[in-house]
Protein backbone atom coordinates (compact mmCIF):
# COMPACT_ATOMS: atom_id res chain seq x y z
CA UNK A 1 0.00 0.00 0.00
CA UNK A 2 1.00 3.61 -0.41
CA UNK A 3 1.14 6.08 2.45
CA UNK A 4 2.01 9.23 0.54
CA UNK A 5 0.95 9.99 -3.01
CA UNK A 6 2.37 12.95 -4.89
CA UNK A 7 2.81 14.09 -8.48
CA UNK A 8 5.91 15.58 -10.12
CA UNK A 9 6.70 16.77 -13.61
CA UNK A 10 7.90 13.81 -15.65
CA UNK A 11 11.68 14.06 -16.06
CA UNK A 12 13.97 12.72 -18.81
CA UNK A 13 15.12 9.91 -16.56
CA UNK A 14 11.51 8.65 -16.48
CA UNK A 15 10.78 8.72 -20.22
CA UNK A 16 11.82 5.11 -20.77
CA UNK A 17 9.68 3.91 -17.89
CA UNK A 18 6.68 5.87 -19.17
CA UNK A 19 7.18 4.51 -22.68
CA UNK A 20 7.19 1.00 -21.28
CA UNK A 21 3.85 1.61 -19.63
CA UNK A 22 2.32 3.24 -22.71
CA UNK A 23 3.42 0.34 -24.88
CA UNK A 24 1.85 -2.34 -22.71
CA UNK A 25 -1.09 -3.88 -24.60
CA UNK A 26 -3.50 -3.69 -21.66
CA UNK A 27 -2.83 0.06 -21.43
CA UNK A 28 -2.16 0.88 -25.06
CA UNK A 29 -5.53 -0.44 -26.22
CA UNK A 30 -7.38 2.34 -24.37
CA UNK A 31 -5.27 5.21 -25.69
CA UNK A 32 -5.99 7.71 -28.42
CA UNK A 33 -5.40 6.45 -31.93
CA UNK A 34 -2.10 8.34 -32.20
CA UNK A 35 -0.66 6.07 -29.51
CA UNK A 36 -2.44 2.82 -30.31
CA UNK A 37 -0.69 0.10 -32.22
CA UNK A 38 2.52 2.03 -32.81
CA UNK A 39 5.97 1.77 -31.34
CA UNK A 40 6.10 3.86 -28.20
CA UNK A 41 9.62 4.63 -27.08
CA UNK A 42 11.33 7.12 -24.82
CA UNK A 43 11.87 9.55 -27.69
CA UNK A 44 8.17 9.75 -28.42
CA UNK A 45 7.51 10.42 -24.74
CA UNK A 46 10.26 13.06 -24.74
CA UNK A 47 8.71 14.83 -27.72
CA UNK A 48 5.22 14.69 -26.24
CA UNK A 49 6.61 16.08 -22.98
CA UNK A 50 8.35 18.95 -24.80
CA UNK A 51 5.13 19.96 -26.54
CA UNK A 52 3.79 23.03 -24.74
CA UNK A 53 0.25 21.73 -25.20
CA UNK A 54 1.04 18.82 -22.86
CA UNK A 55 2.12 18.53 -19.26
CA UNK A 56 3.05 15.05 -18.04
CA UNK A 57 3.40 14.12 -14.38
CA UNK A 58 4.47 10.96 -12.65
CA UNK A 59 2.26 9.77 -9.81
CA UNK A 60 4.52 8.74 -7.01
CA UNK A 61 3.94 6.41 -4.08
CA UNK A 62 6.60 7.61 -1.72
CA UNK A 63 9.64 7.81 -3.97
CA UNK A 64 8.46 5.25 -6.51
CA UNK A 65 6.59 6.14 -9.69
CA UNK A 66 3.33 4.23 -9.98
CA UNK A 67 1.65 5.87 -12.97
CA UNK A 68 1.07 8.95 -15.05
CA UNK A 69 -1.41 11.80 -15.06
CA UNK A 70 -1.30 14.36 -17.83
CA UNK A 71 -2.82 17.47 -19.28
CA UNK A 72 -3.24 17.57 -23.04
CA UNK A 73 -4.66 20.05 -25.55
CA UNK A 74 -3.65 22.82 -23.15
CA UNK A 75 -5.45 25.96 -24.19
CA UNK A 76 -4.49 28.89 -22.00
CA UNK A 77 -6.78 31.28 -23.86
CA UNK A 78 -9.87 29.32 -22.90
CA UNK A 79 -8.39 27.94 -19.69
CA UNK A 80 -9.13 24.41 -20.85
CA UNK A 81 -7.30 21.10 -21.19
CA UNK A 82 -7.95 17.41 -21.44
CA UNK A 83 -6.70 14.92 -18.87
CA UNK A 84 -5.45 11.38 -19.26
CA UNK A 85 -3.85 8.94 -16.89
CA UNK A 86 -2.63 5.42 -16.42
CA UNK A 87 -1.58 3.11 -13.63
CA UNK A 88 1.77 1.69 -14.56
CA UNK A 89 2.68 -0.36 -11.52
CA UNK A 90 0.17 -2.62 -9.85
CA UNK A 91 2.74 -3.57 -7.23
CA UNK A 92 2.30 -0.24 -5.51
CA UNK A 93 -1.36 -0.72 -4.88
CA UNK A 94 -4.28 -0.16 -7.16
CA UNK A 95 -6.67 1.52 -4.80
CA UNK A 96 -6.96 5.20 -5.25
CA UNK A 97 -3.45 5.89 -6.53
CA UNK A 98 -4.49 7.35 -9.85
CA UNK A 99 -7.61 8.96 -8.41
CA UNK A 100 -5.42 10.83 -5.96
CA UNK A 101 -2.96 11.63 -8.73
CA UNK A 102 -5.76 13.09 -10.82
CA UNK A 103 -7.04 15.09 -7.86
CA UNK A 104 -3.56 16.55 -7.43
CA UNK A 105 -3.39 17.25 -11.17
CA UNK A 106 -6.62 19.25 -10.90
CA UNK A 107 -4.99 21.35 -8.18
CA UNK A 108 -1.96 21.97 -10.37
CA UNK A 109 -4.19 22.75 -13.34
CA UNK A 110 -5.79 25.52 -11.31
CA UNK A 111 -2.80 26.89 -9.43
CA UNK A 112 0.01 26.53 -11.98
CA UNK A 113 -1.76 26.58 -15.33
CA UNK A 114 -4.71 28.79 -14.29
CA UNK A 115 -7.17 26.52 -16.04
CA UNK A 116 -10.90 26.76 -15.65
CA UNK A 117 -12.20 23.52 -17.09
CA UNK A 118 -10.92 20.01 -17.72
CA UNK A 119 -12.33 17.29 -19.89
CA UNK A 120 -11.70 13.66 -20.63
CA UNK A 121 -13.00 10.95 -22.88
CA UNK A 122 -13.31 7.30 -21.99
CA UNK A 123 -14.00 4.36 -24.22
CA UNK A 124 -17.29 2.75 -23.29
CA UNK A 125 -16.50 -0.33 -21.25
CA UNK A 126 -13.49 1.10 -19.45
CA UNK A 127 -15.25 1.16 -16.11
CA UNK A 128 -12.08 1.67 -14.08
CA UNK A 129 -11.36 4.89 -15.92
CA UNK A 130 -14.90 6.15 -15.40
CA UNK A 131 -14.56 5.48 -11.66
CA UNK A 132 -11.35 7.51 -11.55
CA UNK A 133 -13.04 10.47 -13.20
CA UNK A 134 -16.16 10.33 -11.05
CA UNK A 135 -14.11 10.13 -7.84
CA UNK A 136 -12.38 13.34 -8.94
CA UNK A 137 -15.60 15.22 -9.54
CA UNK A 138 -15.89 14.83 -13.30
CA UNK A 139 -19.41 14.66 -14.65
CA UNK A 140 -20.77 12.87 -17.64
CA UNK A 141 -21.13 15.37 -20.47
CA UNK A 142 -22.11 13.35 -23.49
CA UNK A 143 -21.33 10.60 -25.90
CA UNK A 144 -19.57 10.47 -29.24
CA UNK A 145 -21.10 7.57 -31.05
CA UNK A 146 -18.77 5.00 -32.59
CA UNK A 147 -15.76 7.29 -32.21
CA UNK A 148 -13.31 4.57 -31.20
CA UNK A 149 -12.13 1.90 -33.62
CA UNK A 150 -11.90 -1.61 -32.27
CA UNK A 151 -10.57 -4.67 -34.03
CA UNK A 152 -14.08 -5.88 -34.66
CA UNK A 153 -16.10 -2.67 -34.94
CA UNK A 154 -16.54 0.60 -33.11
CA UNK A 155 -17.22 1.74 -29.55
CA UNK A 156 -18.69 4.96 -28.23
CA UNK A 157 -16.48 7.55 -26.59
CA UNK A 158 -17.93 8.91 -23.33
CA UNK A 159 -17.17 12.53 -22.51
CA UNK A 160 -16.64 13.91 -19.00
CA UNK A 161 -15.83 17.35 -17.75
CA UNK A 162 -15.14 19.24 -14.58
CA UNK A 163 -15.01 22.93 -13.76
CA UNK A 164 -12.17 23.90 -11.47
CA UNK A 165 -11.60 27.00 -9.42
CA UNK A 166 -8.40 28.88 -9.91
CA UNK A 167 -6.45 29.37 -6.69
Amino acid sequence: MCDHISIARLGPEQFEMAAGWLARPEINRWLYSEWRGRAVDEKLVAVVAMNARNALFSVNCGHQAAGLVALGELNRTDGAASVWYLLGSNRLGRRGVISEGLRLLCEVAASEFRLHTLHASVIEGNRGSVRVLEKCGFQYAGRLREAFKLDDGFADRLLYDRLIECA
Partner: protein
Protein backbone atom coordinates in the same frame (compact mmCIF):
# COMPACT_ATOMS: atom_id res chain seq x y z
CA UNK B 1 22.71 27.48 -46.01
CA UNK B 2 24.50 24.40 -44.72
CA UNK B 3 23.92 20.92 -46.07
CA UNK B 4 22.13 19.94 -42.88
CA UNK B 5 19.78 22.90 -43.17
CA UNK B 6 19.04 22.14 -46.81
CA UNK B 7 18.35 18.47 -46.11
CA UNK B 8 16.07 19.21 -43.15
CA UNK B 9 14.26 21.90 -45.07
CA UNK B 10 13.64 19.61 -48.03
CA UNK B 11 12.34 16.89 -45.71
CA UNK B 12 9.95 19.30 -44.01
CA UNK B 13 8.62 20.67 -47.29
CA UNK B 14 8.17 17.27 -48.89
CA UNK B 15 7.03 15.23 -45.96
CA UNK B 16 4.72 17.60 -44.12
CA UNK B 17 3.48 19.69 -47.02
CA UNK B 18 4.68 22.93 -45.46
CA UNK B 19 4.58 25.87 -47.82
CA UNK B 20 8.08 27.18 -48.65
CA UNK B 21 7.03 30.69 -47.68
CA UNK B 22 6.10 29.48 -44.20
CA UNK B 23 9.52 28.07 -43.46
CA UNK B 24 12.71 29.97 -42.74
CA UNK B 25 15.69 28.62 -40.85
CA UNK B 26 14.42 30.31 -37.70
CA UNK B 27 10.74 29.37 -37.99
CA UNK B 28 9.60 27.64 -34.78
CA UNK B 29 8.60 24.14 -35.78
CA UNK B 30 7.15 22.75 -32.63
CA UNK B 31 6.42 25.44 -30.09
CA UNK B 32 3.94 27.09 -32.43
CA UNK B 33 2.30 23.86 -33.56
CA UNK B 34 3.64 23.78 -37.13
CA UNK B 35 4.62 20.17 -36.36
CA UNK B 36 2.78 17.96 -33.90
CA UNK B 37 4.48 15.45 -31.60
CA UNK B 38 4.31 12.58 -34.04
CA UNK B 39 5.65 14.64 -36.92
CA UNK B 40 8.52 15.71 -34.70
CA UNK B 41 9.34 12.09 -33.95
CA UNK B 42 9.47 11.42 -37.69
CA UNK B 43 11.76 14.40 -38.18
CA UNK B 44 14.11 13.22 -35.44
CA UNK B 45 14.24 9.71 -36.91
CA UNK B 46 14.98 11.17 -40.33
CA UNK B 47 17.73 13.41 -38.95
CA UNK B 48 19.33 10.55 -37.01
CA UNK B 49 19.43 8.45 -40.13
CA UNK B 50 20.65 11.24 -42.40
CA UNK B 51 23.32 12.68 -40.13
CA UNK B 52 24.45 9.43 -38.46
CA UNK B 53 24.01 10.65 -34.92
CA UNK B 54 21.78 9.03 -32.33
CA UNK B 55 19.64 11.50 -30.45
CA UNK B 56 19.31 10.87 -26.75
CA UNK B 57 15.84 11.33 -25.30
CA UNK B 58 17.12 13.97 -22.91
CA UNK B 59 18.41 15.99 -25.86
CA UNK B 60 14.91 16.31 -27.29
CA UNK B 61 14.33 19.87 -26.21
CA UNK B 62 13.07 23.00 -27.87
CA UNK B 63 16.59 24.41 -27.57
CA UNK B 64 17.85 21.66 -29.87
CA UNK B 65 14.94 21.01 -32.23
CA UNK B 66 12.53 23.93 -32.48
CA UNK B 67 13.90 25.32 -35.76
CA UNK B 68 16.10 24.35 -38.67
CA UNK B 69 18.95 26.45 -37.35
CA UNK B 70 18.75 24.79 -33.94
CA UNK B 71 18.74 21.36 -35.56
CA UNK B 72 21.81 22.40 -37.54
CA UNK B 73 23.47 23.48 -34.30
CA UNK B 74 22.67 20.18 -32.60
CA UNK B 75 23.87 17.93 -35.39
CA UNK B 76 26.91 20.09 -36.12
CA UNK B 77 28.12 19.84 -32.54
CA UNK B 78 30.54 17.12 -31.52
CA UNK B 79 28.83 13.92 -30.32
Amino acid sequence: MTDIAAIVREFLLDHFRIEPGELSDSTPLFSTGLLDSFAMVELVAFAESSFKKKVRARDLTLENFDSIERIVGYFSAAP
